[in-house]
């Protein structure tokens, strides 16, 4: 089966050790995380993880189910096919001399990126966008000499009103109906151990 990049989004309880529980499960199931981004959400005590993994659908689905079993994971969804808005942020420190500085600024402008720090021999560029955009900018800047790069990894939201990750209001009366009785006579039942 073809492997593709999947975007898994997990809502997790904001407790110590949760990141460890999630990441160690990837290791144990022999799965590589390409990037993972964690932060607070609109709800107190709930953090959101955006995990990018590469694999075939069946394998990613297996990992998703295993993650769903982690008690501290409240909800986990594969939003790859929901056409989500996905962004990552990158900071790049580029070598800059008096002669190259204006050229760098021009490129940065074209990408609607920002210069966030200037020093005598370098600039820090901040760029936000999808992976392709960040990648192309980095490629162009490489010629000037890149000193350091940091990337957040992708974060993503699904479009529209209520996403698949909305946590429902706690409902009291959600007890499923017990099935109708179909057991054979009591005498046939095995002893209750």
């Amino acid at each position: 089966m073809a492997t593709t990049k999947h975007i898994l989004v997990a809502l997790v309880e904001d407790k110590p050790g949760v990141l460890n529980r999630v990441s160690s499960l990837f290791r144990r199931r022999n799965f590589n995380i390409e990037s993972i981004a964690v932060g607070h959400t609109e709800q107190p005590d709930v953090s959101r993880m955006t995990i990018i993994v590469e694999g075939d659908d069946a394998k990613v689905e297996q990992v998703r189910k295993q993650l769903d079993k982690v008690i501290d994971v409240v909800k986990i969804v594969d939003i790859t096919n929901d056409e989500p808005v996905a962004r990552e942020l990158s900071l790049v420190k580029v070598k800059a001399t008096a002669s190259t500085r204006s050229e760098i600024i021009q490129i940065v402008d074209i990408f609607r990126a920002n210069i966030v720090d200037v020093s005598s021999d370098s600039l820090i560029v901040e760029v936000t966008g999808d992976e392709d955009k960040v990648g192309s900018l980095l490629e162009l800047l490489r010629g000037f000499g890149i000193r350091e790069i940091v990337r957040t990894g992708r974060i993503a939201l699904t479009r529209g009103g209520v996403g698949p990750l909305q946590i429902e209001e706690p409902k009291e009366a959600k007890v499923p109906k017990p099935p109708p009785k179909v057991t054979p006579s009591e005498a046939e039942s095995p002893p209750d151990w």
Partner: protein, 566 residues
């Protein structure tokens, strides 16, 4: 009312209905042990090694269906539990393991007997906790028992620092758990159940593969109802033994590496498999690409992650087996599959797996069969791992629900004695036979002392062949008889037993098997028999590694074989 953390823990355990726990004291749990005399309701059984505490709690849990509780101190006490916790995890056994931890100010300082046990047990527990405030203990205990015993059961570990045991807090036991991330699907989706019924009703060559989930869910009656309604042959997994009476006409043994050849054949040629509470373990399926090539698979399991993990599934149903079968059975059309039944029954005649070859020698299979005859099957059998386990599974017929207890997933040698101990404590009125090998028995032999101190009346049968038998068998079959480090020169087990205060017999001759077993059964307390059996007897059938189920090797020279008394 203010109580110490230790008192809160005891109060909470009582509220969870804990009657017994298996443990071993040490520095970090001293404040807890000091509290025990105030709570005589909870019986504490002192083991001789923490691994046995975990296995005993596991054996107790499997025998009773209630969570077993084990207890150890920090550091080495905690790490000694690890094998037992992993064993419970792989076989979905409910367990709550409590460990002491160094006092809070010392955490992270590599203090004396400090180890990160929550980190170590992360992949082998259903969940675990490090409790940093005595005020959290009650909630954590409530959650731990809830998680351990519901859904797919499993072990939960609670790590409590020494000073938290001593810290005072207000005690009130929560009535409900609040676990937004813990979802249980107990009732199957009606549409899926309908689809499953359609597939089953259209089947020409259906079989049921029933696993330990049936036992956990106590769905014995529902399984029987389904099988009888549509006359479907029932094959169990190794851990499913005891979920369907093995003397029932529809019982066709168990599948897998050492399963009955006819069971494996039936699976291979079936057109519909109804897999109930089982997880298509590689020891059960053989090489997966050749597993049941013509079959459509209906898979019923409470754990959604088991669906489609190893084998493709046509109709998945997530839910508690008892509930699902209750609804599904109503939609199953009563019918007979006479041609199919006769075909499978003919395979049973052609491949008589459960025969004992004619021999003057003392054969291990004969020993197991005689234990079956003597107990009339009315016993709980707890096994070790290896040849003794397979013979115990093959040559004893399990009609009683939940009467076979064995380490399946992890395959832990040394489980037998402490596991039997726990089972006997959980079901004291029943006969418990511990079937051990001479290798595995020596891994936890120290528990003979616990058995004597607590007068736990388990009957121990050592199948003593002077080898690590299953490994030797593999060396014989697949490594050209190079017996590297498998011959064992064991101790005199009868002298060892007597030194611990347990009466014992050695049997080297077939003639004395029955009388020895009767003597053991007639004795009130624990009893040990050292059966010195044919050293190079092999377990058959065997599906060679990397082979399909139907490629099982059967016992050579079948002409010498006759059908046994059964």
């Amino acid at each position: 009312m203010k109580k110490t953390g230790a008192q809160i823990l005891c109060e909470s355990l009582i509220r969870e209905g804990v009657e017994v726990m298996f443990g071993f004291p040490g520095g970090a749990v001293l404040p807890l042990y000091d509290t025990f005399p105030q709570y005589p309701k909870i019986k504490h059984i002192l083991v001789r090694h923490e691994q046995a505490a975990a296995h005993a709690a596991d054996g107790y849990a499997r025998a009773t269906g209630k969570a077993g509780v084990c207890l150890a101190t920090s550091g080495p006490g905690a790490t000694n539990l690890v094998t037992g916790i992993a064993n419970a995890y792989l076989d979905s056994s409910p367990m709550v393991a409590i460990t002491g931890q160094v006092a809070r100010p010392f955490i992270g300082k590599d203090a004396f007997q400090e180890i990160d046990i929550t980190g170590i047990t992360l992949p082998i527990t259903k969940h675990n906790y490090l409790v940093l405030d005595a005020g959290d203990i009650a909630t954590v205990v409530k959650e731990a028992f809830y998680i351990a015993q519901t859904g797919r059961p499993g072990p939960v570990l609670i790590d409590i620092p020494k000073d938290v045991f001593q810290q005072e807090a207000t005690f009130s036991y929560p009535e409900k758990v609040n676990l937004p991330g813990y979802k249980l699907t107990l009732f199957g989706h009606p549409a899926q159940i309908k689809r499953a019924a359609e597939v089953i009703n259209a089947a020409e060559r259906p079989i049921i593969i029933a696993g330990r989930g049936v036992i956990i869910s106590k769905a014995f009656a529902e399984l029987k109802e389904m099988a009888e309604r549509a006359q479907i042959p029932v094959i169990t997994t190794l851990l499913g033994i005891g979920c369907f009476p093995e003397t029932h006409v529809l019982s066709f043994g168990w599948l897998g590496m050492h399963g009955m050849a006819y069971a494996n054949k039936a699976v291979h040629h079936s057109d519909v498999i109804i897999a109930i509470g089982m997880r298509f373990d590689d020891r059960a399926t053989g090489v997966v690409s050749h597993f049941a090539p013509q079959a459509r698979v209906v898979h019923i399991d409470i754990d959604p992650a088991e669906i489609g993990k190893n084998v493709r599934v046509d109709v998945p149903i997530v839910g508690d087996v008892k509930n699902v079968l209750g609804v599904l059975n109503q939609q199953i059309v009563p019918r007979e599959h006479l041609d199919w039944f006769n075909r499978v029954d003919k395979w049973r005649e052609e491949h008589p797996a459960l025969v004992i070859r004619e021999s003057e020698a003392l054969l291990p299979q004969y020993v197991i069969r005689q234990i079956y005859e003597a107990t009339k099957g009315d016993a709980i059998v707890v096994t070790g791992v290896g040849q003794n386990q397979m013979w115990a599974a093959q040559f004893f017929f399990y009609d009683k629900p939940n009467s076979f207890i064995s380490s399946g997933g992890l395959g832990t040698m040394g489980f037998e004695l402490p596991g039997a101990m726990g089972a006997k404590v959980g079901r004291p009125d029943e006969t418990v036979w511990c079937i051990a090998g001479d290798g595995g028995f020596q891994m936890t032999i120290q528990e003979l002392a616990t058995i004597v101190q607590e007068n736990i009346a388990v009957k121990i049968a050592i199948i003593n062949n002077g080898f690590l038998g299953m490994v030797r068998q593999w060396q014989q079959l697949f490594y050209e008889r190079r017996y590297v480090h498998t011959p064992l020169s064991g101790p005199d087990f009868t002298k060892i037993a007597e030194a611990y205060g347990i009466p014992a017999l050695r049997v080297t001759d077939k003639k004395f098997v029955v009388s020895a077993i009767e003597k053991a059964m007639g004795h009130e307390g624990p009893f040990l028999i050292d059966f010195v059996v044919e050293p190079e007897e092999n377990v058959f059938p065997i599906v060679p590694p990397g082979a399909a189920l139907v490629e099982a090797l059967e016992m050579p020279s079948p002409e010498k074989v006759t059908r046994s008394s059964k």
